[in-house]
Symmetry: C2
Amino acid sequence: MTSQQQTTTQFSRIQLIQYQLLKHFPVLDVTGAPAAAHWQSKVAVLLGSQRAGRGGHELVNRRALGQTRAMKPVSGKAPSFTKKSPESTLAMKPVSRYAQVLMVVMAAFQRSHGGNSVRCPSPFRNNREVGPMPQRGETTIQDIADHAHVSKSTVSRVLNRSSRVNEDKRAAVLEAMKTLGFEPNLVARSLAGGRSMTLGVLTQNIGSPFYDALSQGVIRGLAGTGYSPLFVDGQWQQSTEAESIRTLIGRRVDGLLLIGGDVPVEDLNDLRERIPTIVVAREIKGWENHCIHVDNVQAGYDATRHLIDFGHRRIALLRGIKEHPDAIHRFEGYVKALEEAGIKFDPELVFQGDFSGQSGVMAVNSLVAKGTHFTAIFAANDMVAFGARLALSRHGLRVPEDVSLVGFDDQAEAAFATPPLTTIKQPAVEMGTAAARAIVNLIHDQPYELACLPVELMKRESVARLR
Amino acid sequence: MTSQQQTTTQFSRIQLIQYQLLKHFPVLDVTGAPAAAHWQSKVAVLLGSQRAGRGGHELVNRRALGQTRAMKPVSGKAPSFTKKSPESTLAMKPVSRYAQVLMVVMAAFQRSHGGNSVRCPSPFRNNREVGPMPQRGETTIQDIADHAHVSKSTVSRVLNRSSRVNEDKRAAVLEAMKTLGFEPNLVARSLAGGRSMTLGVLTQNIGSPFYDALSQGVIRGLAGTGYSPLFVDGQWQQSTEAESIRTLIGRRVDGLLLIGGDVPVEDLNDLRERIPTIVVAREIKGWENHCIHVDNVQAGYDATRHLIDFGHRRIALLRGIKEHPDAIHRFEGYVKALEEAGIKFDPELVFQGDFSGQSGVMAVNSLVAKGTHFTAIFAANDMVAFGARLALSRHGLRVPEDVSLVGFDDQAEAAFATPPLTTIKQPAVEMGTAAARAIVNLIHDQPYELACLPVELMKRESVARLR
DNA sequence: CTGTTAGCGCATTCAT
DNA sequence: ATGAATGCGCTAACAG
């Protein structure tokens, strides 16, 4: 089955023609199926006033039918009218865009059927009552206005509650919106109103637990504010991020929430001048009240300290990607805790890697292969910890009896690992929420606070006292 | 520090005023810092022609400055001009929106400084050469056109490569776009062009592995097509989903990709008539070429069969949420495999739950508490399997020696569980990619195929032969 | 309180 | 090949 099926709607095109003609041009007798050419000229007369200087050709551009391929111009028969033409002036009435659609549809229909005369089977033929039509998603406030016998402005006012409206008219408008199935065009609204009520959210690798938790927090924080988030994925690649941000700006989002990411600081500074921006989970100098993040140094310190408190002195650090600021800060915390406890820092115990499970496996394998003595591991994140834990068990090392293990992030799986993993919990959801609220306030030029949230050590069962 | 900082840009407001005045009204001598009131009336004269019937008050709406709070009207001094007024006609020139901004800025500045005379320190004072200005994100094709001495149309043509343009002009336009830092307004483009080059993607619970993998697939499949995805989160709640879809439609996305979800089939049918739609990871009757999903019955069968092949006959099923179609289908597969092997179905072995780790824990606890005999578990997803595995170990049951375990989804953590989890891998990324390609073809009315992708049993170490 | 008017920034069509 | 004109659907200022 191919996509041809897709355009099959409840009504055939010719039926739609009839419906619309009946609705907008009751004066035309189309139910009797006159020659299509006849319709054309009639409609053309009505349309003549519509667009001065365009002649009768190509009165419609392709979008009229929601198609993307260009319509060939109608054979040129349709006469050209200018605004001054008395006939057209006479015939002028509120002509909806449907009328334009019709002409094209008719022409297309005529072409595809070869002849110039058309007989139309129709559910409408014997029924001049024209009721509501299944929506094609094209109702506009003008339609509503016509239907409710008010002006567009009034409809707009009802929509936005921007000023008082007479209760009667209000009801009529609401009624019309309901029967016509009106759905406001946010695109037009954004363009006219100069604001889109949308926030761009640049996230990283949809599917990674920490960033997803942040996104969830953002969604939660935005609930009820009237703003909706628009997520794009930066994939931790500068080029993709830049591209995504361009898209967001092109969409005229009212604010930007950048979660993590590698965008150079200079670009960020430029960005901030154009659009309210808040950076989440990344620390940037000079952005004091525009970024929210946890204290990774403290977190690294806490985790290491916890192990030290349990008697460990040979603590392996499986830090993440070398340049990643989070990894660097956690490393600093690790070093600080060691120093404070008077433990000599041993580079043999530190492994670079990425944030993957495989990276944990490899680190442990290497540790064991080199025969390095260690009694505990502090992993860059939970995934690395899982990898390490697997590798340990492969080598017959038990957790926590032989080796203690601490992760980072407290992703959902951590609590159900065997044994449940002791890990640093980042308040990801809370950060997302806070950031969302902050950006809304920032946009409205309201004051707000963006506190550095504390991390929490989730003590579970992967850490044991060293005997 | 509060958000007041945000509006601090590289240039002060008064500098911006001067810049703009110099650029648009070189005839005015503003560098000498005349009284602000003087400027006001001068600009007002120029602006008089701009908007007939508006008087001199509140010439600017709030968006002009990107602010959201209303500007108080200028004190009322500015005279009112109509289009007929000879002075204003005389002074008419292409007045940019900046001019409007200026007036407001000036008024605000004047108010905030109390006096009516202003001396402005300015980098522009001694420099009548007006170069490029740091972008405020407001450059339009008109600006480009002015700068390149061509018409808007030509700029548009260059932008869209929609028709040949003289190489010289083309270069000039490109040059202008670069120096002015032009960024096309996608909102306006969507409105005018009738298509947004955006696809709405309704996903469920950002942060759940399977749906995130699908999203990643979508991103991948869309790369290079010119379409960009717009993610919204349905949270597995009908109301939220409906709301999200409305938003997407309001944004005039060109197509819809619904990943999972609970939207009633009738609504879906309505939807499909309005907008190209493809449903992912959900099976709907009558949507044969519009939905892509795996064969969950087969998957349930495969997993169960695998356990049976290893000699298990007492296989507990930790199915997911009761009404969830996936859970139902997998259950059917389970039953089918049992029947085929001549094993009597035992309701004691089936547990309802959700898709959480806790649900796995509870099921196993209950199984053990009731003393039900079982040698294997087939879990609704990997997370449930992790929970089950933890509970088993709490009860001293080893995996796979005492109990074999099969999960579902093959999320990243599965391969690093202890022991690595045997699980059903859904081709999530591939499905996402296929769906993305399909929707693009659907939009363009091109044929496409939407195959039912096969699942794969990832045999790892959590299943052992029953002795 | 309501209708009128003028754009928002761009694509597109017709005329040149 | 290029410019002028029109409108996409809506908001908001203005004039009753």
